[in-house]
């Protein structure tokens, strides 16, 4: 257009301006980033992280010397093992205990414990042996943990369902072409990003105050947070759905809802299923830890045991979580292969 453009265009190709390999602007930007990284590394002890990790690797490979990291890990792992599988309860504390009908697979034992008392007369420590009858369920604790894992999966499933239900209106009202007007569009997209912006662990903290300890807070926290994701993903797919079929049905007289049902939904359904699967997996992972703030599931047990230093119990919980996540990967991988 302008005069200078035509002058440049008119130069012979031998004189065409070629850009340098690194432009000053790029160089300055890289230097700035390096400076930022240096400052930040000091603050987050990245240097120490490297030093300790290198030491651990050296000791691990060489087998000599001491590494703070390896020693710490070994101590914890040593405490986790052997896993706590059984559950032992004093009979006196079981309500309506029926000696004739013991739970399946359990047996009674007599537990002897030495206890030290201060004799009030002699002011001497005396040792007595206390006997009490206990009910031993060999896999009692494992079953308890598995049951909590089931509850965790249920929390994730309900959270995901709530997210889908909330995301449906967020998707329609937050998609250009289907949103009634700009204000509704902006508001809907705003709600979606707000929901995404509040971490579920944080909202669970508050929901526990509102709804009390237990799964309700977990379900709501997961549902609200992931509704923000699904709302955004769903809306963007609606916006990017091919126009041709939509125009064709519009010309045939279809209204907005009919267009969504017949021209949009069939096209976006495969990717919607993909998003839902991803969110479900993510919710299962988060549901295992959301109990740490008291919002139900296996995390609540994990935190309780950790705080009581019951590391063998913690070991059982960790193994169950790990196996569940692995099983989940296998199952969803197979489901995806079948769907696509």
């Amino acid at each position: 257009m302008s005069a200078s453009d035509s002058v440049v265009a008119a130069r012979p190709p031998q004189q065409w301006a070629l850009r340098p390999w690194l432009r000053t602007r790029t160089l300055l930007l890289l230097l700035l980033l390096a400076a930022l990284a240096l400052v930040s590394a000091r603050r987050t002890e990245i240097d120490r992280m490297f030093a300790l990790s290198a030491e651990a690797v050296a000791v691990g490979v060489g087998g000599e010397g001491h590494s703070q990291v390896l020693d710490g890990l070994a101590r914890i792992v040593g405490h986790l093992w052997p896993l706590q599988l059984s559950e032992t309860r004093p009979v006196s504390r079981i309500e309506n205990f029926d000696r004739a009908q013991l739970p399946w697979g359990s047996h009674l034992e007599v537990e002897r414990r030495r206890e030290q008392h201060l004799d009030p007369d002699t002011l001497q420590m005396t040792e007595t042996t206390v006997e009490r009858e206990v009910l031993v369920e060999p896999y009692g604790y494992l079953l308890h943990v598995l049951w909590l894992m089931v509850e965790t999966l249920e929390i994730a499933a309900w959270g995901t369902l709530i997210a889908i239900v909330l995301a449906a209106p967020l998707a329609v009202l937050g998609a250009r072409g289907y949103s009634p007007n700009r204000a509704v569009y902006a508001l809907t997209r705003g709600i979606s990003s707000l929901l995404r912006a509040i971490p579920d662990l944080v909202s669970a903290l508050f929901l526990v105050l509102a709804f009390g300890f237990g799964p309700i807070a977990g379900v709501l926290a997961l549902g609200l947070h992931t509704a923000g994701f699904l709302g955004k993903f769903f809306a963007e797919d609606v916006e990017n759905a091919p126009r041709g079929p939509q125009d064709a049905l519009r010309a045939a007289g279809a209204g907005r809802l009919e267009l969504l049902r017949y021209a949009v939904l069939p096209q976006v359904l495969p990717s919607y299923i993909g998003y839902i699967q991803y969110i479900l997996e993510r919710n299962i992972r988060t549901a295992t830890v959301i109990g740490i703030v008291g919002a139900g599931g296996i995390g609540q047990e994990l935190k309780g045991r950790f705080e009581m230093f019951d590391f063998q119990h913690v070991g059982t919980i960790l193994v169950v979580i790990f196996l569940t996540v692995v099983a989940l990967e296998l199952i969803t991988g197979r489901m995806r292969a079948r769907l696509i």
């Binding site: 064709a248 049905l249 010309a251 045939a252 007289g253 069939p266 096209q267």
Partner: protein
């Protein structure tokens, strides 16, 4: 031809896009009942715009569109969709929807909303769809296949079935054979013509292939730069008329060859 017989009448229809492009410039056109009228013109001539102004996908900036003597209200696509069916350029079936559902969607405006949303199209309408599918040359094995699994020619056959299921008095077709090879193009146009005759529909069909237009049209209307520049019987379409229709100035090659002259010409067209 008297106006009383006109199925479709455009009076002073102009379309100006948001970016200022004048795609239709005060178009006058009258299509009598039962005619197979072909719109001819190079790319960018305004054929699609004209068809969209008729089916309501575009609201004209000026002028009136009359169907069967009645002016169409802009914006009311639902009642318009029951009288005017459109076969679009390229893929316009819903790819992942079954062949049957695609055809049934052509009659969606005749259903109450709840029935449409639940997919309760009704047995009678489903039967009608089967009859139409057989008419256009598909068989039972394709009924529940996804539209995307069909060949291009078969897809356009489904498109024709979808157009006729609402028993529309007027069928618009926007380059219905643009992406098909010549032999299949011929079959599809023959099918469109035969179906229109059978169902007593008037057709306004845009094409860019002169040979096909000559072969199938009752009448040829030529467009250039948003105006109708030609209106004749197919036999009258001689070289002189074609030269006038496809004058240089609208193609990129011509612009590159003679920048100054072409620029002036385009300005003249768009003014």
């Amino acid at each position: 031809m008297s106006d009383a017989e006109a199925m479709l009448r455009l009076h002073g229809v102009g379309v100006r896009y948001a970016d200022g492009t004048v795609a239709l410039d005060a178009v006058e056109l009258s299509v009598p009942r039962g005619q197979f009228c072909v719109l001819l013109g190079s790319s960018g001539a305004g054929k699609s715009t004209l068809l969209r102004a008729v089916n309501g996908l575009i609201v004209p900036s000026s002028g009136v569109v009359e169907l069967d003597g009645q002016a169409l209200r802009p914006g009311d696509l639902r009642s318009r969709g029951r009288k005017i069916a459109t076969i679009h350029q390229g893929i316009d079936l819903v790819p992942r929807l079954s062949v049957l559902d695609n055809v049934l969607c052509g009659d969606i405006a005749a259903l109450p909303l709840w029935r449409a949303l639940l997919g309760r199209f009704g047995r009678a309408r489903q039967r009608a769809a089967c009859m139409l599918l057989a008419e256009v040359g598909l068989d039972e094995s394709q009924l529940y296949r996804r539209a995307s699994e069909l060949s291009g020619g078969q897809q356009q056959r489904v498109g024709i079935a979808r157009a006729f299921i609402s028993r529309p008095p007027l069928v618009l077709a926007d380059e219905p054979v643009a992406s098909l090879d010549p032999r299949i193009s011929r079959d599809i146009l023959a099918l469109l013509r035969r179906s229109a005759r059978m169902h007593g529909a008037t057709v306004l069909c845009s094409l860019h292939q002169i040979e096909l237009a000559r072969e199938f049209a009752d009448r040829i209307v030529g467009m250039r730069g948003g105006r109708i520049v030609l209106d004749c019987a197919p036999q009258q379409l001689d070289d002189a008329r074609l030269a006038a229709l496809y004058q240089r100035g609208t193609s990129d090659a011509a612009v590159a060859a003679a920048p100054a002259a072409a620029a002036i010409e385009i300005e003249g067209l768009r003014a």
